[in-house]
């Protein structure tokens, strides 16, 4: 619902700014390895630098632990490990993107560790293409589509699915 509600806002913005031609959506892009990913900027709560985490026992290895974010306990997952990419050492430049889902009353917040945040990009919705069936290490189910920005391929992630899936997996566990 919130999605649907927010979407028109964005549309409106675009309509107002660029007459009636296109609907634009802003994405925050980040880098994992050599691939660039994008998440809807409205799902981003905060961007933080990496801080040491409190370990939680008996969780999957990609779940690094939890942090206290101004009173809220936020789980931190390593997207690299989640996407079965190779592990890297964390540096002072390693960034944690705090994401939120507004699924009804149940708002969920989670930090994902990425290599670096690159940019905020505005994407015409018509330019978003369907995700292919193969070619990436991210399962199709997380990917809304692909967009080409300045000849860079950016994979657009579905944060809800990402977090839900996480939830279901957690509940299953």
């Amino acid at each position: 619902m919130s999605q649907e509600n927010k979407t028109p806002v964005v549309k409106e913005t675009f309509v107002k700014n660029n007459s009636d031609v296109a609907v634009t959506i802003q994405y925050l892009s980040f880098v994992l390895g050599k691939e660039e990913y994008g998440v809807d900027i409205l799902r981003v709560q905060e961007i933080r630098s990496w801080e040491p985490v409190s370990r939680v026992p008996n969780v999957p290895p990609y779940e690094k632990g939890v942090v206290n974010l101004r009173g809220a306990i936020v789980p931190i997952i390593d997207l690299r490990e989640r996407f079965s990419l190779s592990k890297v050492e964390y540096t002072p430049l390693t960034v944690v993107v705090v994401l939120q889902t507004g699924n009804g009353n149940h708002t969920r917040i989670m930090g994902v560790v990425v290599d670096s945040v690159s940019d905020v990009i505005s994407v015409d919705k018509s330019e978003i293409q369907g995700a292919p069936d193969f070619g990436t290490k991210v399962s199709n189910e997380f990917i809304n589509g692909l967009v080409s920005v300045n000849e860079r391929m950016v994979m657009l992630l579905d944060v809800d699915k990402l977090l839900t899936l996480e939830t279901t997996e957690q509940s299953e566990n």
Partner: protein, 773 residues
């Protein structure tokens, strides 16, 4: 009286022991003269026999001597005297002559005269006596008292005995008268008895003696007539017995002599008849060369040649040859006599007379006492033999001088001569054939034709000669074939050698040029080495200053290292500062992003803020990129400073090594300076060696030239040899080969000529090069 004149004073001395025997008939005509008489008389037997014996009388002899002789011997008494005789030539000789009648059946049939050599005393006495007789100072017959004494002396024996007995008895008669007077009857009777006995004995003895003497005479007469019997009284012991035994012995001796003489005569007769019938022509002469025997063969021979002989010897007559002197055969008898006089042994001589050739073997007949009693001559008619001998001699001479066509003519030849001639002609045929064959084959060989062979069949040495010649030709064939191959090989080889020598000459020329360059290089090298030696001293100085500079460089490097370290520290601090700036830029970026997120969430209201956030983000990004660039540059400079430090460190160590190296270089330069001096000396030696090389090269060039000329000469010689050998025409298959090879060699010879010309032309160019060199 017959006077044989003339006379000389030359005496022919009769040989002692010689016996001159003559027989005459009752009228004194010589019927027989022995050889000794014929010889000493000087007459031929023919002249003597039939002549009167006074033919040999000497005028010095008194005719009374001969009268006495004739008177004596006509009384059938033997006569004896020393007589001087005359030879035909007028010389004289003394003989001790004995003449006596020759009795047969009691009657005188002739006279025999036997002469011995007298002593010189006899001769001188006789000579004296005859001279006295001639002057009537002496007489042959005794006169007066001498005749009386001679008469008494020659009273018969029994009368002398009776007279002697009477003389002996006279004293006894005186004794008996004395005894009778003295009446000594005893003695008287003894004396009478003895006287009577003695008288009887004397009578008896004288009677017997007379009887025996007569008997002896009788017996001796018988002996003289060759009537030998046994005389009585042989057994008497007295002197008569001895006398008879002596007579008997003499008879037996004479008988045996007569028997031996008869035997000799029979033997002589047999020999004569044998000689008469032998094939050889035999003439026998006495010592005066009178022919005393001519046998049948000789008669035939001489009658055959009589007609021819008469042309030269008008006195020659074959039918009256016997008894004539052999002077009839000779135109110069004196010379012949001298020859025969010297003859001592069998001698052969040749006699050419009236176109007839005789071979005469003459031999003196020597008697038992060593005196020459005649000659025997054997005549052989050698006319035919001489003819064929001459023909054979001519033939042999012809063959000797190489005329092999000569032959003996067979016309008019018979028997042995003919077969001999045929055989000799056959021999000559064989020799001629052999030589013609050899000549033909040698002629062909001389013309180089070796295809011939001797095919005629020969025997013995000729066959060997033929086989050897054939083998020789075969061998020469093979030999020349091999020589020909060898010559071709030599020809090819010599051509190769010639070209090789040519190449050698070229190379020697190049070598000479190289040597020239080498010599020039060596001079340059020598000057360079001298420069080196002087440069080396300068280099030593340079090295010393370089070492000082290098030490200074080391100090500079040390201070550079310190400066580098300081730069490094500064860079690290700059890097830290830049890291801070970078972190700030990062945080700023994050903040700007969060601002962007917030602005986006704020929607339309956040729109301006978004722009600011974006601007901030851009600034942050620019700061970050500048920081990154600065960091990168600082990193670079830090790395470069590190590298520079490393370089400077290396430079320091290198400089230290350089210093050590320069010191070594100094030493080395010193060594090099010494070495340069040694090099100078060495180069001097090398220069000498090059000079020697130059000399040797010149010699080599000369030798190469010589060798080239020699090899060309050899090539020409071998070509000539090949040509020469092609002269030979070989037999069988090789002959065709010969022709082919001859062609090839002739072509080669033509090819060779220009080559040799080329070489000859090239050799002077060497010389000129050498003069330049």
């Amino acid at each position: 009286m017959k006077m044989n004149m003339p006379v000389t004073n030359h005496e022919v001395v009769m040989k002692s022991g010689a016996i001159l025997v003559t027989r005459t008939d009752l009228k004194g005509v010589i019927t027989f003269a022995n050889d000794a008489f014929v010889e000493i008389s000087g007459y031929s037997r023919a002249e003597l026999v039939g002549s009167s014996h006074n033919i040999v009388r000497h005028p010095d002899m008194p005719s009374a001597v001969y009268e006495e002789m004739w008177n004596t011997i006509k009384k059938e008494k033997p006569w004896h005297g020393v007589v001087k005789n005359r030879t035909k030539a007028g010389d004289f000789y003394w003989v001790n002559a004995n003449a006596m009648p020759l009795l047969e059946n009691g009657s005188v049939i002739g006279y025999i005269s036997v002469r011995h050599a007298p002593s010189r005393t006899d001769i001188s006495e006789a000579e004296q006596f005859y001279r006295k007789v001639a002057t009537n100072e002496a007489a042959l017959h005794s006169t007066g008292a001498a005749a009386f004494f001679k008469k008494i002396k020659e009273i018969s024996l029994d009368k002398k005995l009776a007279f002697a007995s009477t003389l002996l008895a006279a004293p006894n008669v005186f004794l008996m008268s004395e005894f009778l007077n003295t009446a000594d009857y005893g003695l008287l009777s003894v004396t009478v008895t003895l006287t009577v006995l003695g008288g009887l004995m004397v009578f008896k003895i004288s009677h017997n003696t007379s009887e025996l003497v007569n008997l002896s005479i009788n017996e001796l007469r018988k002996v003289s007539q060759n009537k030998f019997g046994v005389p009585p009284n042989l057994r008497r012991d007295d002197q008569f017995g001895d006398l008879f035994r002596t007579i008997y012995g003499t008879g037996i001796k004479l008988g045996s002599d007569v028997g031996r003489l008869n035997q000799d005569a029979a033997d002589a007769l047999r020999i004569i008849s044998g000689l008469e019938n032998v094939q050889s022509s035999v003439l026998i002469t006495n010592v005066n060369l009178d022919i005393i025997f001519v046998n049948q063969s000789a008669r035939t021979l001489f009658s055959r040649v009589e007609a021819d002989f008469k042309k030269h010897l008008p006195n020659f007559r074959a039918d009256t040859l016997l008894g004539t002197n052999i002077d009839v055969f000779h135109t110069n008898p004196e010379y012949q006599r001298q020859l025969l006089g010297k003859l001592s042994d069998s001698t052969m001589y040749e006699l050419e007379l009236a176109g007839h050739a005789f071979q005469i073997i003459a031999k003196p007949v020597i008697s038992a006492d060593g005196s020459r009693i005649g000659y025997i001559a054997e005549w052989m008619d050698r006319t035919q033999e001489n003819k064929i001998e001459r023909e054979i001699e001519n033939l042999v001479n012809s063959i000797k001088v190489g005329d092999l066509r000569a032959r003996i003519h067979l016309e008019g030849k018979e028997g042995f001569n003919k077969s001999l001639s045929i055989n000799i002609n056959g021999l000559t045929d064989v020799i001629e054939s052999v030589f013609m064959d050899i000549n033909a084959i040698m002629q062909k060989m001389a013309d180089g034709d070796l295809t011939g062979n001797i095919h005629t069949d020969y025997q013995g040495a000729y066959a060997q000669c033929k086989d050897n010649i054939n083998n020789t030709i075969t061998k020469i064939n093979q030999f020349i074939e091999q020589i020909r191959e060898a010559a071709e090989f030599v020809n090819n080889a010599s051509q190769e050698i010639a070209s090789g020598n040519n190449n050698l000459s070229h190379r020697v020329e190049q070598q000479a040029a190289s040597l020239e360059e080498t010599a020039a290089s060596m001079e340059e090298l020598a000057s360079t080495v001298k420069c080196n030696a002087t440069d080396m001293q300068q280099a030593l100085n340079v090295v010393k200053s370089t070492a000082q500079l290098a030490e200074k460089g080391g100090d500079v490097v040390k201070s550079a290292i310190v400066a580098m370290r300081e730069i490094n520290e500064s860079s690290n601090r700059i890097a830290e500062i830049i890291g801070v700036i970078d972190e700030i830029a990062f945080q700023t970026n994050l903040l700007a992003l969060n601002a962007s997120v917030e602005a986006a969430r704020a929607g339309e209201q956040g729109r301006g803020f978004s722009v600011v956030a974006t601007e901030v983000r851009k600034l942050a990004q620019r700061s970050a990129s500048a920081a990154a660039q600065s960091s990168e540059m600082i990193q670079n400079s830090v790395q470069k400073v590190h590298a520079g430090t490393a370089f400077v460190n290396e430079t320091g160590t290198a400089l230290m090594e350089i210093v050590g190296g320069i010191i070594k270089v100094g030493d080395l330069v010193g060594h090099i300076a010494e070495s340069s001096n040694e090099q100078s000396a060495g180069i001097g030696q090398v220069n000498q060696a090059v000079a020697q090389l130059d000399e040797i090269t010149q010699q080599n060039a000369a030798l190469a030239e010589e060798a080239a000329a020699n090899s060309m000469a050899m090539s020409e010689q071998s070509a000539k040899m090949t040509q020469l050998i092609s002269f030979f025409k070989l037999s069988n298959k090789s002959s065709s080969l010969a022709v082919r090879q001859h062609d090839s060699t002739s072509k080669k010879a033509v090819v060779v000529k220009p080559k040799s010309a080329a070489v000859v032309q090239s050799s002077p160019s060497y010389n000129s090069d050498w003069e330049e060199f």
